[in-house]
Symmetry: C2
Subunit: 376 residues, 2 copies
């Protein structure tokens, strides 16, 4: 595995604080640093920041991102948007097709309370939305989702996306104002290829936007996604908006890119050693029901144990994290607490109900993860 | 992949029922059949049934299992036990070490309301529990957790486990009444090896129990776990209790063992096709945030789509299930609903907030998954 040796990191919670485990900790200082640095990066590119809230799912944090300069937020599901608008957010991109009558009615209700944009990649979905907007005498801003190489959703960059943009623009009640891509294909590139891969995705998207304009549709927004590529894709001239999410907390996957180590990861799972059946194996009370099963591109195993970089979380059952301990590790005792940086922080946050906000080692607040589990 | 071709299965929800997606459906008839068949299997072995509730996390279902003859339930975390006791369950095995003062205090509170047993695999954890029991003038029933080959928690079958049982028995406030194992190592065996592997685990546990008795400790309980091995491990003479969980719903992993096909899976994720960017690829609105990332030993990809056994859920992002469609599939349209059997039903249930109980195609009730997310 190609990786940069990360800087060592300290626990963020004081050992004297009593807290049941497993629990999610968020260091407020590190989080603030992450938020302000990403805002500064966006500013340096002349791009607007519209963070994806899937990482924190918590209105308090969305409002902090906005107070630092973000123009609004990005959500995948309407349930997330409903929670965020309840919490005071006023500008939401749904980076996900809104399909079925139930969901369109929920979108219409949200449009009464916030500025909504919806990303679409099919004429079928657009026609249903158009009919509903016309019926309710409303107009909806739309991005066309473009596939720049991830091969997930999105019309292919170039002719296919241009055609869809023009087809949607002819429908009543929909205003095509931009294009977006999620350049997730860059996340599996080796560290020395990500810059090139990200810029290539950005160039495809910008070229598609220019072709749409040449065809007569004066779109203004060219929006890109992802934290790993955030230093590169928006450097392409013509990108107007970026939608990173993970940066607010960061996780072990980012170690691969050499941009940061565990010392910059603001969120950790506090866990307890509950079993130590042999010298080389111990069990923490955080399994896949807490850490999630996502693999990391930046660290072996299922998370990074602060202070024990050589002890690998080798296997996860739902409630068991099975840790393999090397000879040179200082060791563990039953009842000991450890802080673990998950491989992928977003699904781990989704598994828990609250964030323990830590300042100077103390828990200063507990925030409900209000948009947790909003899969609809 | 070695697998038995499963019988085809029908959707359980009528197409005319309006229900937002993704949602978890539970067919009541199939669930009842699963519950009664496992009870009959336990009865045929002369073993007591103590189902693990991690699969359903729902008190209504625990009570049904008990009304069919289960002696009580198994939980991993105290938070699950608290919900189940609130719901009316009176007999709980904590198949997980109870460690730290916070958790011991929660256990003491539970002991005021229900019969509690705790499984232990270390003298450290036992000593802390013993001190607390003595201080509060209480006595706790204990199983010693035995490692019969999974190499997760548990003391090694034989001398190590015998020594721990005798050491714990000397502590005040703890009564060692049995041994338990989770023979999870059988879950990765090929279908034609599982019977032998399961019986081998059962024999190791029974031999350990007999050695403990010979050493002077008259333990009565010999408890084994797991649905995949449930036809085999308890067939060993001397096993008194079985703790399967998944059987109540079943999932694609069980297809490997040839015991059942998708027609016997009682729980399905109802999802909607939201994007169909090319003929061979479509996206459903159930990703890893709904289906979980667990791999299957019995079906390729990330779940089984009812009616489309050849269409493979090839990749999951958090909110995207990326489906690869073969040439001979009848195809999909945007807005179409599909039912998906998850690879591992337990973590999928843990990601959602309610079960839609379906009888004859109609949703007759909605049960909160009250112990969802109880990681502590």
């Amino acid at each position: 595995m190609s990786m940069t040796m990360p800087a060592p990191a300290q626990p963020i919670l004081s050992p004297d604080v009593v807290l049941d485990t497993p629990s999610m900790l968020v260091d407020e200082t590190l989080m603030e640093q992450n938020i302000s640095e990403m805002q500064a990066l966006a500013n340096s590119f002349g791009a607007q920041l519209r963070p994806h809230i899937k990482t924190h799912k918590t209105p308090q944090i969305a409002l902090r991102q906005i107070s630092h300069g973000a123009r609004g937020i990005t959500c995948a599901k309407l349930g997330e948007a409903e929670v965020m608008v309840d919490g005071g957010v006023e500008d939401v991109l749904m980076a996900y097709p809104v399909v079925t009558e139930i969901k369109i009615n929920r979108l219409l209700a949200l449009m009464e309370r916030a500025r909504m944009i919806v990303a679409l990649d099919s004429l079928d979905a657009a026609e249903a939305l158009s009919a509903a907007m016309s019926k309710h005498d409303r107009s909806l801003d739309v991005y066309v989702e473009v596939n720049t190489g991830q091969n997930r959703a999105g019309q292919l960059a170039g002719d296919d996306a241009v055609k869809l943009a023009l087809d949607i623009a002819r429908l009543p009640g929909l205003d095509v104002i931009g294009v977006m891509t999620h350049e997730g294909q860059t996340h599996t590139l080796p560290a020395d290829k990500i810059a090139e891969g990200a810029r290539e995705a950005g160039e495809k998207l910008v070229a598609t936007a220019e072709a749409i304009r040449r065809a007569g549709l004066p779109i203004t927004e060219v929006s890109v996604g992802s934290t790993p590529s955030s230093m590169y894709t928006p450097s392409v001239g013509g990108i107007t908006e970026m939608r990173p999410g993970t940066y607010v907390f960061r996780d072990t996957t980012g170690f691969l890119y050499g941009q940061y180590g565990p010392d910059r990861c603001a969120a950790r799972v506090l866990a307890t050693v509950v079993s130590h059946p042999s010298k080389d194996r111990m069990i923490v009370d955080a399994g896949s029901k807490t850490l999630a099963l996502d693999k990391s591109h930046g660290h072996p195993g299922h998370g990074y144990i602060i202070g024990h970089p050589g002890s690998i979380i080798d296997r996860l059952s739902e409630e068991h994290g099975v840790v393999v301990i090397p000879e040179d590790d200082p060791g563990f005792t039953i009842g000991q607490r450890v802080e673990i940086i998950p491989n992928h922080i977003c699904p781990s946050v989704n598994l828990l109900d609250e964030l323990n906000i830590v300042r100077d080692g103390q828990v200063i607040d507990v925030w409900p993860i209000a948009a947790r589990g909003k899969v609809r």
